[in-house]
């Protein structure tokens, strides 16, 4: 049982977390708790995205200084100027590749540099999730602002109490 689950345990975890969030959104009476549930719900999805970018034995997709300049790197280990120079080259390379419309041109400038995709985790889901986090935070912000407005208008953030107030005002 456990073995059959283990290769895809990240999916199971995100589903469980998501369900916890969904449960809170649906069943909680308190509007702030509902929003907490909503955050949990969104976080589960973020977790899902991040987890799918991971590969076994991979690392974050950043090229270290010594990977680009293996021979210089040892000489000027603390050299601030050289560090800048390396960044400049990277920036320039980035610019070039932009001009070439994304042609993976790293190899042509650094013939001895070999980048294996398997060594790095996929950066794209991370980037997407940066956006999703921003969206999630703004949703939470709007939700909290609305809750605040609700409190101002009804004097409560309990759903049942607010519904009672509405009902009694209708009668």
């Amino acid at each position: 049982m456990l073995e059959s689950l283990s290769p895809s345990f990240n999916y199971w975890i995100y589903v469980i977390i998501m369900m916890i969030g969904l449960y809170a959104m649906i069943s909680k009476n308190n509007f702030v708790k509902k929003l907490i549930g909503m955050s949990i719900f969104q976080t589960a999805i973020i977790l899902f995205y991040v987890s799918i970018s991971v590969k076994e034995g991979s690392t974050i997709p950043i090229l270290y200084h010594d990977q680009i300049h293996p021979e210089h790197g040892e000489h000027h280990e603390d050299g601030q100027g050289d560090h800048h120079q390396a960044l400049d080259t990277l920036a320039k390379e980035h610019h070039d590749s932009h001009a070439d419309h994304g042609d993976a041109a790293a190899g042509s400038h650094y013939p001895d540099l070999v980048i294996k995709p398997d060594d790095f985790s996929n950066p794209l889901p991370h980037v997407l999730m940066l956006t999703a986090i921003v969206v999630g935070v703004s949703t939470l912000g709007v939700g909290l602002a609305i809750t605040q407005k609700l409190y101002g208008e009804f004097g409560s953030i309990e759903e049942s109490e607010i519904l009672d107030t509405i009902k009694s005002s209708n009668d």
Partner: protein, 505 residues
């Protein structure tokens, strides 16, 4: 300039919203002209885009110059060129209407309101234009966040409705995001066209992950478009919000989501996968039938004008979902045509509701007492929308029903045809109830009283800023109806280019 028109559709209202937010604080009078200018610019750009699409075929606009599938592209074909014109012009008409109502309803937050209004329009336009699945998520959320705020600007109960909308909307958008995640795992792409190519190239039709992603995306989109039984958020949200907000939200949000559904089904997954591989057409058409009946019957029980209209939106969503899922060309044509016509009909009746509410201060149907005497021109505008919703020729609504029923008969789905007819009849009851109140008064005289007192029946029309958009919409409904052949030609071109034939039995 013309080459950049696709981007300008989005950029003009977006920049306008920033300017309104910055300047509007100090100079409140600037807001309204700026909004009009922004939306008019957007309408202009979208018409230019439509014309160039009609002339030269699909436009692929690469934002920032990045090639797809790496960069985000705006991909404009016949379908979204049409829808984008509708979205921008509906927003423009709603903006014209807003002149007095915003001051009256949200006088202390004019610049905030208009800034959100423009952002909402930007989000909706973006949803229609974008060719990137993740970008679509972001734009869905931009539109959703602004609409939460626009609804919450209303009086007391609007806040509660907005809160529920936040919860439901977030669940819907999250489902969509999850679905895109599964698609990405399988295809490694986020560009809609590229996803479709990868699905075919890698022969992924049998993959359960793709099916899961399809379900997640469809359910997410259904929540957002208030497809029965996922509609609970809609009636209160549109009923209690400020009238200006409901004038832009009610016509556009659900319709744009229907567009997103069509886009997902036809462009991303492809007709063959959606209809031939997944055999869900039968059950989803039945769900649509339920949606139509439930929406119409619930509308019958309402005494609040805007709530009644909100339930009608739910029924109309059923029309469109059912029409698309008939898996038949005419039904598809009808649904897409209905996106266009329904946007304008809903705008028309909500503008009317807004005018009545701002004029009388009452929200229930009795507010219409004797309106044919008091506001004849407004009522004429309303009649155009009402007749269109009932489906009386030659208004736009008649022709969308014409195509939808044709689709239903062609595919042998009589339950859908019957539901459409029943809903038309219920619409007739609903609108003639309104017409009766406006024509006879709430309490008509008992006998043949030929000497009606004319004292309190002085004509007092709505101000021009409200009358012009209402009558304009009414005229547009007729124009869309009379020129439906040309619109349908564009839709048919789109459908034939999206290789519908392989998915249809």
């Amino acid at each position: 300039m013309i080459d950049q028109a696709p981007a300008l559709i989005l950029l003009i209202p977006f920049l306008a919203s920033i300017i309104v937010a910055l300047v509007g604080f100090r100079f409140r009078a600037v807001c309204y002209p700026l909004v009009l200018l922004g939306m008019a610019g957007s309408v202009w750009a979208s018409i230019v885009t439509l014309l160039s699409v009609l002339e030269g075929g699909v436009i692929r606009y690469h934002l920032g110059g990045w090639e797809p599938p790496f960069g985000i592209e705006l991909r404009i074909d016949g379908l979204n060129a049409l829808v984008v014109v509708v979205v921008s012009s509906v927003s423009l008409l709603a903006a014209i209407y807003s002149k007095r109502t915003v001051l009256a309803e949200n006088g202390d937050k004019v610049s905030q309101f208009y800034s959100l209004f423009l952002l909402l329009a930007t989000g909706l336009l973006g949803m229609v234009l974008t060719g990137d699945a993740f970008n679509l998520y972001v734009l869905i959320e931009i539109a959703a966040l602004t609409s939460y705020a626009l609804i919450a600007m209303g009086p007391k109960r609007a806040t509660l409705a907005a809160y529920k909308y936040v919860i439901m909307g977030t669940i819907g958008a999250s489902f969509y995001l999850l679905g895109v995640g599964y698609l990405y795992i399988k295809t490694g792409s986020l560009n809609m066209v590229d996803i479709q190519e990868q699905l075919v190239a890698r022969d992924l039709a049998g993959s359960p992950a793709i099916m899961v992603s399809f379900i997640l995306i469809t359910v997410g989109v259904w929540i957002k478009m208030a497809f029965f039984p996922l509609h609970a958020w809609l009636p209160n949200a549109y009923c209690f919000s400020p009238t200006t907000s409901s004038c832009i939200l009610a016509p556009l949000v659900t319709k744009v989501m229907v567009y997103v559904m069509v886009r997902m089904m036809l462009t991303v997954y492809g007709a063959e996968y959606t209809f031939a591989h997944l055999e869900w057409s039968r059950i989803i058409v039945w769900m649509a039938v339920l949606a139509i009946l439930a929406g119409s019957i619930s509308a019958l029980g309402q005494t609040n004008l805007r709530k009644m209209l909100s339930f009608l939106i739910i029924a109309e969503v059923g029309y469109m979902v059912g029409g698309v899922w008939l898996a038949e060309e005419m039904g598809m044509v009808g649904s897409i045509y209905h996106i266009i016509s329904d946007a304008f009909m809903t705008l028309c009746v909500f503008l009317f509701a807004g005018i009545i509410i701002s004029k009388t201060g009452k929200t229930d149907l009795n507010a219409l007492d004797g309106m044919f005497k008091k506001m004849p021109l407004t009522m004429v505008g309303f009649l155009a929308g009402a007749f269109s919703l009932i489906g009386i020729p030659p208004t736009a609504g008649f022709f969308s029903k014409w195509y939808l029923i044709q689709g239903g008969i062609n595919s042998g789905r009589w339950e859908y045809v019957v539901a459409l007819l029943i809903s038309s009849l219920i619409n007739a009851v609903l609108f003639f109830r309104i017409i009766e109140i406006a024509y006879f008064g709430v309490k008509p005289a008992e006998g043949h009283d030929h000497h009606h007192s004319d004292g309190h029946d002085k004509i007092s029309e709505a101000p021009l800023s409200q009358l012009i958009p209402l009558l304009g919409t009414g005229v547009l409904l007729l124009v869309i109806g009379l020129y439906n052949k040309d619109i349908v030609a564009v839709i048919s071109d789109f459908l034939s280019s999206s290789n519908l034939g392989s998915g249809i039995r």
